[in-house]
Symmetry: C2
Subunit: 470 residues, 2 copies
């Protein structure tokens, strides 16, 4: 990939310097827009970028412009004359412009809004009102509407004449005389229909819609479930206000997954590729989590500190604390991960929480039992082959050692059982109080599990095993 | 959602019992296929399911069949007469059948293959040969090919007459006289073109393709990058063998993200929704990781065990081990997560490893320094307000306490720096030896970081701080 882009850059520079506009136009027409944009983004010399965009003409130029990064976009707007910007905006889609405006400084935003054609400016302002991560923020307002009484032939004619301004013609919308949305029409169904059939006969009546304020994640799940190409977006009065297309949903799905992955692993989502993210931003995405987790560890420290006397009495106790804390943390983390992801993919319906908790109780009991039994055998083995050496004279004899292994195994049983139940309850609780399960559950599960595993361990020691061993 | 499905079920039962085929047909035609399938999956009484599929007719029946779960599909195939199965298969796509065959017992597979029309059987056998997670395993063989010398009008006629058998007509392929793929034609471009233009003039020449043996993840990244609707799949002789459509890629993107999320959090991907996965399967996805991680902990145990004497001398040392191990683990995990995900999304090119490692070195140094300074202050605070109580008579006086805090802070600096470098190096190394970075890096990072943090801590203690403190 990298090599192709470099070759493309060399050719672009050569053609611009030779002023060979014809060849340059031909090259731009036959190269994917995203590749051209990537090549242009990398130029130190913005003059080349400007010449290429100018040569591309306003239609292709607008497509390339939409894919450029914000810095390049800004330098183009700063360098372009008003007339050139108007031509570029004329061919742009409102949602692309809005995505860029979010990152521009105020002066550039003002210039763009001033120069935007009236209709586009209205759309931009409309889209700017929707909060991030809502359906409204990913929709576009350029869609095509047909009346239900058109024939297939008339519909195709209308799509031909008016469709170029729409973001997609693969799905168009059908409204009745009262301007209510009554159906969606897929282009393939239209192509396969007889010329004389009416739109009303061909359209889907069982179409799926969303509201502009819906979470984009829920919309993405519906796209996946119903294999949609496009979805109508309604306002609170159930009137059509926009359309979301599958290519934007692909980005939503990847972004939402990135966010879940990041937060579950205790780091904030970077939004831009690693190599393009400034170092200070990466630090800001990482350090707060580490520090918060360190502060939350005050509970483990308190517990360990209050049992310091016990550890001083029998240092071998401290050897098993990492093992217990890790096994608990890993188990709780597994459950949290499964449930957080299932919630994100919309797998749970209203009554499903009880079913999930009951199911996890059975799963957790089995896993806790299996791991406890295994750990008992494994620790006996470690003691047997001398991986853990016991020099303490009070611990000579296999009965004492068996008791130590039993202490660890029974701690693990209780810890894993409780950790997994926390792992299933916390995400549902987060959803209930309308917090993001992924952000809340990563750190909280770890902290709670640490507290529980250490407390269990030392309480079992003080309450039962100390008397038997010492 | 759940309520809608229940209402649908009630209506289906009523209509089947009343034998009201007309209303049932109308209902099936106006309800999304996936909702019908979900309703049918839940019926205890498979007779209702059979009646509904029969009433739907072979075309809609095949669509519903493709969305049913494997158990329901099996009971239908067992109950259907040969003639009915042939009619159903006749309307099915080869890729849907192959997805089901993977889960069927051999006897059912035999019956399906025997009854499949010759052409379909050939396609099925062809698809069955591709390994899981390759482009070949998600492609379908039902695509439409045009010649480059057709006019737009002729092309649209051909799509009208032959397109119904294809999985998509939004993108069709163009071959020249030598049967080489020379372009792709998007239906919208065709609709917008003049009747007399030729396919050669309208088609894209800069189309993106993949090979049948390519990893599906790479294909998905190209779909995202180029906003594709469909992609041509070539064999090793660069001949067209299939097409992948965006709806299948949406599933690939979600599946690949689920896999990364699962593995990074030390659990295997479940593939089916939590509530539908049998308990024994969930246990099998969780327990091996816990046990492997427990066995890998033998290294920490060895280290702790060999310093048991030091802990016995000064029990307060053991209070800070969880804090150090967690901070190291969290930092390394952050880097691993970022890099593994960037690799999965195809963000790194060939020469980028060095750049990433150098960048992470600078990031890691800053983060290690910030966290070390913070932790020093935080520990001094903990000691000051008595969260950690020091009763040991040898540790009275602030100079001793400052030294303890310095020991922990300097351990954290070294641990975080090294952990993050491991976090960036391991995923690249995994990619290099062609292992899945997500599987390999979760457990290995944890284990290595544990070893490094404990070793650093005790070596600093024995080498420098013990002499100063005791």
């Amino acid at each position: 990939m990298e090599e192709e882009i470099e070759t493309l850059q060399t050719t672009l520079i050569k053609l611009v310097k030779k002023k060979d506009k014809a060849t340059l136009k031909e090259l731009l027409a036959t190269t994917p827009v995203i590749d051209v944009a990537e090549a242009l983004d990398d130029f130190e010399d913005k003059k080349i970028t400007l010449s290429v965009i100018r040569c591309a003409g306003s239609e292709l130029g607008a497509d390339i412009f939409a894919e450029l990064n914000t810095d390049t976009q800004q330098s183009i707007i700063s360098a372009f004359k008003d007339k050139e910007i108007v031509a570029l905006l004329d061919e742009s889609f409102a949602d692309d412009i809005v995505d860029s405006l979010d990152e521009f400084p105020a002066s550039i935003v003002d210039r763009v809004l001033k120069l935007a054609p009236k209709e586009l400016r209205k759309d931009i302002n409309f889209l700017l009102n929707y909060k991030e991560n809502t359906a409204g923020s990913v929709m576009t307002t350029e869609y095509l509407v047909l009346r239900e009484n058109l024939t297939a032939k008339e519909a195709l004619e209308k799509i031909r004449s008016e469709g170029k301004k729409a973001e997609t013609i693969y799905t168009v919308f059908v409204k009745d005389a009262k301007r209510n949305l009554i159906g969606t029409l897929n282009l393939d169904d239209l192509v396969f229909s007889k010329d004389t059939e009416t739109v009303e006969e061909i359209m889907n009546r069982d179409f799926v819609t969303c509201h502009a304020t819906d979470d984009q994640e829920i919309v993405a799940n519906d796209f996946k479930r119903y294999d949609l190409n496009a979805m109508a977006v309604l306002n609170k009065d159930n009137k059509l206000v926009g359309v979301i297309t599958i290519d934007d949903i692909v980005d939503v799905i990847v972004d939402e997954a990135n966010e879940d992955i990041a937060k579950l692993n205790k780091v904030s989502n970077m939004e831009t590729p690693y190599l393009e993210t400034p170092i200070y931003k990466i630090i800001l995405k990482c350090v707060p989590w580490i520090i918060v987790l360190m502060i939350l560890q005050v509970f483990s420290t308190l517990i360990l500190s209050s049992f310091e006397g016990e550890i001083a009495k029998l240092a071998i106790l401290s050897i098993f604390t990492p093992l217990i804390m890790d096994a608990g943390g890993n188990s709780g983390g597994q459950t949290t991960t499964i449930i957080v992801r299932s919630l994100a993919l919309g797998e749970f319906n209203k009554g499903d929480m009880k079913r999930a908790v009951w199911k996890e109780f059975r799963v957790a009991s089995c896993i806790a039992a299996i791991v406890a039994v295994f750990s008992f055998g494994w620790l006996m083995f470690e003691l047997g082959v001398g991986i853990v050496q016991i020099n303490d004279p009070r611990l000579i004899g296999w009965d004492k050692r068996t008791l130590i292994c039993l202490l660890v195994a029974s701690t693990l049983f209780i810890t894993i059982l409780i950790s997994r139940m926390i792992g299933v309850l916390l995400p549902f609780f987060a959803r209930l109080i309308k917090k993001d399960p992924a952000v809340m559950c990563g750190p909280l599960t770890t902290t709670l599990v640490d507290i529980i595993s250490l407390t269990t361990y030392f309480l079992l020691w003080v309450g039962i095993f100390r008397g038997l061993i010492l």
